[in-house]
């Protein structure tokens, strides 16, 4: 196979684009996709303080690398989840990457800083660990950005992540979730601006980027995510993609271009008030994170 751009030997074939690329032009392709995403949704501008949500996996490290390569000022924030045999290794990858590129990595450890781990929270709430994990990370990234003056939080959600979430939202006709699903969420009182610059790139592309750029990342899947619904959606979409290349992109991009606006939330506005524990706006007496924390901590003390 030959590179579409230079006709040199290709190292990756992207059936969705009906294209093959050599290392140099594949990296240029990734840069261009991120550049287009940032520009299309006016995600941030040069000079903005960008906080990258870093997990030690391929997506977040590739995202951080691409943003720095494109000239943005970006620091990383890693959240320690306390998952045995997984969290230590993923933090190691994040720290090694930051040191190699001389970048700033902040670390918030759930156990040390907030008094519980994800496995403990899952046990206390008797719910899937992925729920406690996502809720905790969202809270910590948001609070950290607000408390430390960052203009925007960037997450490594890629095209596969977004297509899988869209499939789940459509299967359940979750209209509120459909209205919220977007690559750029504006800042609001108590909420930092939040964007997904990788939404135009698939996770195979992000893994390839890391291999080519010699970025070592956490390859093995989180042991607590095994069998979750999100992974099943991805497998189903990849089965479709195999038969019909471009299906995932058509599904997601078509939604964003032609359907998202129809799901804009209407109806009565729910009054929000600051959570007494953390100050995050909430419709109830206590925000979801503080409720999780309150239930998780007694189990361990």
């Amino acid at each position: 196979m030959k590179c579409r751009v230079c006709r040199g030997p290709a190292v990756i074939d992207l059936r969705r684009h009906n294209a093959n690329f050599c290392p140099e032009h594949f990296v240029a392709h990734c840069e261009e996709q991120v550049r287009r995403a940032v520009r299309h949704f006016a995600m941030f501008e040069p000079g903005d303080r960008v906080l990258v949500a870093v997990s030690g996996g391929k997506d977040s490290l590739a995202l951080w690398d691409l943003l720095v390569r494109l000239g943005y000022t970006a620091d990383g924030l890693y959240v320690g989840l306390g998952i045995d045999g997984y969290s230590d290794e993923s933090l190691g990858h994040a720290r090694a990457y930051a040191a190699r590129r001389d970048l700033t990595l902040h670390v918030v450890d759930l156990a040390t800083d907030l008094g519980f781990t994800v496995p403990e929270a899952a046990t206390a709430t008797r719910r899937a660990p992925c729920g406690a994990c996502g809720l905790s990370k969202r809270h910590v990234f948001n609070r950290y950005a607000l408390d430390h003056g960052y203009d925007v939080v960037c997450t490594g959600h890629n095209l596969d992540d977004e297509a899988a979430v869209l499939l789940g939202n459509v299967l359940h006709w979750d209209l509120d979730a459909l209205a919220r699903q977007h690559p750029a969420l504006p800042a609001a009182p108590g909420f930092a601006r939040k964007v997904k610059p990788l939404y135009r790139l698939g996770e195979r592309e992000m893994a390839a980027y890391c291999v080519l750029e010699r970025i070592h990342y956490q390859v093995d899947e989180c042991p607590m995510a095994t069998g979750n619904r999100h992974l099943a959606y991805k497998e189903s979409l990849n089965a479709l993609e195999l038969r019909s290349p471009g299906s995932k992109a058509a599904f997601l991009f078509g939604y964003l271009e032609r359907a998202h606006g129809t799901f804009t939330r209407g109806g009565p506005t729910v009054a929000l008030q600051p959570c007494p524990g953390c100050g995050t706006p909430t419709p109830g007496d206590e925000c979801a994170f503080c409720r999780l924390q309150r239930r998780a901590i007694p189990v361990t003390s």
Binding site: A10, R138, A164, R180, Q181, M206, G284
Partner: protein
Amino acid sequence: MKVLLRNPRREVEVPGPTTVGALLARLDCNPESVLVIVGDELVTHDAVLADDASVEIRPVISGGAGNADTAPGTRS
């Protein structure tokens, strides 16, 4: 050839030479879900793998918490 698979991590022997595409088909791997790596290098589906090659089939699907913005009660 030795083929390293993950989740769970294991190694299988497959006779070569064969192409990457044929190897993935033999192991029932969706090419959309994996990268094939020989040494430290990526290889495309038409590449021929020698009988003495050491090959990694690396899954690229990761999942977990899903979308950060669609959980109820986390954003106004």
